[in-house]
Symmetry: D2
Subunit: 284 residues, 4 copies
Amino acid sequence: MRDHACLIVYGPDKRGVVAAVTGLLARHECNIVSLDQYTDNPDGGDYFQRVVFTRPHLTAALPELESELASTLKPFDMEFKLTDQSVPKRMAILASTSDHCLLDLLWRHRRGELPVTVPMVVSNHDVTADDVRTFGIPFFHVPSQHGPDKSQSEAEILKLLAGNVDFVVLARYMQILSNDFIEKVGVPVINIHHSFLPAFIGAGPYKKAKERGVKLVGATSHYVTEELDEGPIIEQDVVRVTHADTAVDLARRGAYVEREVLSRAVTWHAQDRVIRKGNHTIVF
Amino acid sequence: MRDHACLIVYGPDKRGVVAAVTGLLARHECNIVSLDQYTDNPDGGDYFQRVVFTRPHLTAALPELESELASTLKPFDMEFKLTDQSVPKRMAILASTSDHCLLDLLWRHRRGELPVTVPMVVSNHDVTADDVRTFGIPFFHVPSQHGPDKSQSEAEILKLLAGNVDFVVLARYMQILSNDFIEKVGVPVINIHHSFLPAFIGAGPYKKAKERGVKLVGATSHYVTEELDEGPIIEQDVVRVTHADTAVDLARRGAYVEREVLSRAVTWHAQDRVIRKGNHTIVF
Amino acid sequence: MRDHACLIVYGPDKRGVVAAVTGLLARHECNIVSLDQYTDNPDGGDYFQRVVFTRPHLTAALPELESELASTLKPFDMEFKLTDQSVPKRMAILASTSDHCLLDLLWRHRRGELPVTVPMVVSNHDVTADDVRTFGIPFFHVPSQHGPDKSQSEAEILKLLAGNVDFVVLARYMQILSNDFIEKVGVPVINIHHSFLPAFIGAGPYKKAKERGVKLVGATSHYVTEELDEGPIIEQDVVRVTHADTAVDLARRGAYVEREVLSRAVTWHAQDRVIRKGNHTIVF
Amino acid sequence: MRDHACLIVYGPDKRGVVAAVTGLLARHECNIVSLDQYTDNPDGGDYFQRVVFTRPHLTAALPELESELASTLKPFDMEFKLTDQSVPKRMAILASTSDHCLLDLLWRHRRGELPVTVPMVVSNHDVTADDVRTFGIPFFHVPSQHGPDKSQSEAEILKLLAGNVDFVVLARYMQILSNDFIEKVGVPVINIHHSFLPAFIGAGPYKKAKERGVKLVGATSHYVTEELDEGPIIEQDVVRVTHADTAVDLARRGAYVEREVLSRAVTWHAQDRVIRKGNHTIVF
């Protein structure tokens, strides 16, 4: 994505913002590659826009573009975020013993399909260490503390992440992160929940799904917030099951939905396609 | 389905029951058309079997078959239900103002795709009366009572149904039936709920779905029990939505999932494919 | 869609066109509701844009807008089409004996989900006449001529359509229209083919699908061109089948895919979401 | 699957075969775990049955069971195949440079989800050698011959396979096997084709799909026969694409459908769920 930039604009909807932004880009000889926009309420709602554009010698031009965007958007009272798409985001993965989501992310990364670098995998177990290192990725083993206080192991993880990552993915990481951790980590954290949220919140969703006798099981990728399994949903999908599937079968079939859903969510986040507003996401 | 019968066998799993049943059918010159079976737990679980078979002059032979099945299955401690598939089940439909599920059922029935007769449609509104009668189906208007006590209108509906129907379908009937009604009606009642249960139980599921920001909406058809939206699920399905869909859009797209899910559930019930055990269904 | 307009712009890609168009709209106090764009080749490809916008007293303002757009887009060498979305397109339906696609379109239209008027249904059979007229839609019976020459019945249909319709939908119309008809009709013609094209081109696709032993059957909606089943595809979908489904079962299950696919294609066409380029469609 | 056996019975349909087979199993104290059956034509068609059953000390009992089955089925003129499910099938994988199908199979095998052993991976390239050996699987590099005559490299592969494998999987193996090879290999060969067959037979299906402007791309797993891409289909699936996807995007999205479809086909084959009749499969 050499010489590609992504511009996100958002704020209270006002007439003329598309013209203002695209006019500025045209004057700077930028070529628009894609443009998406959305207003969540035609009467006084918020406006969201994503533009991807190219320009020769983009990196050198970014500071001036940034400053002009600031003055252009000030009268509109809108905020913006301009990112150089030639710089991949740095993604840390937290995992436990399950490898299906973890390995799928590492494969896709190696295939060149995820626009990220992976500076580290951190796990509270060491069973996946060899697999991870085969991909040339550093693996750190941080065992979970026994008992409800996880502050020491969380501190150790925070120290590894600090300054090194742009977002964190919980690839079936089976520890509940404390609110303190989520606050301190300072970057978005993406989780994969093994159910079609809001059904079967909390632990053991496949067992609960079997007990309720559902005919589809699903997976949900969402941003982690202080309320467990209540963060903004990025992506979801389901797969058909029958009465003959045991809870173990559900977990097995669900695993393949989990890895697809998580990889889509991670890709879209890495491409700056996901904008959060309250407990919702706009996915362009 | 002339000369076709369906035999359902169920009870605590024991070795030899398939052989006993199919042996009996072979001795009576019955041709097995399909056979499905399922044991919900290999160690001491329950056994469920569905056999469809044909035999010349079936109706005349049924009483003897029934009596021999009773003696054959007695040592196995299993129950059975033998139905003549040339006799379609009588299905009453309860509806309100929405017509998408109602008309889809009537139209599939007219196409010859639902193995049922439709002796009546009962509605608490009269807006669909002309449409229903165009299909040659009797329409009865039973307005809902105001206030929490619905005993009088429910009594009127029960009187219409009594002795005339084999099962009842709630095709987006927007009244909650009392436990008293469910007890007295004496036949299975199938509902279509406009969400992917157990998510968004109760009223206004599309509004709740919009508020939660889900990426799929769904529909669930289930048997009605005394607990609202908690009965055994027969069938479910979902459709993809985006942030740009309003709650009205969700309802609109969901409507087409509802009609598909309900018609599958009704077809399977009418074909004796659905067996209930506790809060679960086995769908053969 | 009062005071809503849709602007389609297309031609060889050039920098600055988004800015030019949105700048013009801003000067005319138009509010952009949605904007989609696509370039089919970053190096010298074609550019396609769809903008929906609102403006008070739109109808009165359209002529001036149209003339300014012409001058604005001239230096870009681009063409455009500006439509008043408060004026629904007039859709004629051609049908034969199958009613599933026909009735689904009429239902959706009556529910207010299709932004069209339906001035007429024309059929070479009269079996659906009563159903169609129940919806308050005129029904014309034009029997097909025997033999290969259909010029007289086609002339009769053309006379009915002339000046009265903006597009034609073949809702399982079982006659092959002559090239002469397609040329003379002068409006887009949308067909639903009962297979996942390009598999099973021509007659009897479900029979061919059964013979080949496929595990999915599908439907394809496309614009009709002079080459049978080769026109630009608008929408496709599939449904799972098994070895146990007969060719009749495939047709039955496929019918429900056909009606969904056709109604999506018709909706998108009616909303000016579909742009044709050669044998392809861009669907915004 | 200790003490589990699978019995396949097939031949011209006759009344009483279920009773005969299940009666024999009951007399031998076998517990039926699952039973599926299918008749492809109620009037003089063929009958197919699959029974999975358990019995203590199964292996010791198999020879006697086999001999009694032979006498029992003789009057029915039916053939059968009895397999000990505690003995996993030996699966060789042939691959080229693409790793998505190959690694997915190896990873599912390691997770214990494929009831097979993998005695070897053979490839005409060596790029996947390290990955394969990380899973503890032998890797053999057999470069393809230049020119149309591949007899020498095929002979080398045949020598590796001979006596060592029960079936062969072509996991995106980019060489066309000669009819001579298919005859000599003597075991079923399963291929994954990167399109929804019979659409886009032959090379470059994603490019052809882009050219035709389809809205879904798919994958097909089938048994290899002498006619290229014409063998009996085991499984198919599709994924939605848009006008904005390039041929490279189609290949990328299709890759994930390929790995799912191939792994389902391989699993079902390994579990003796797939029966071939002519160019069709019955999948129980």
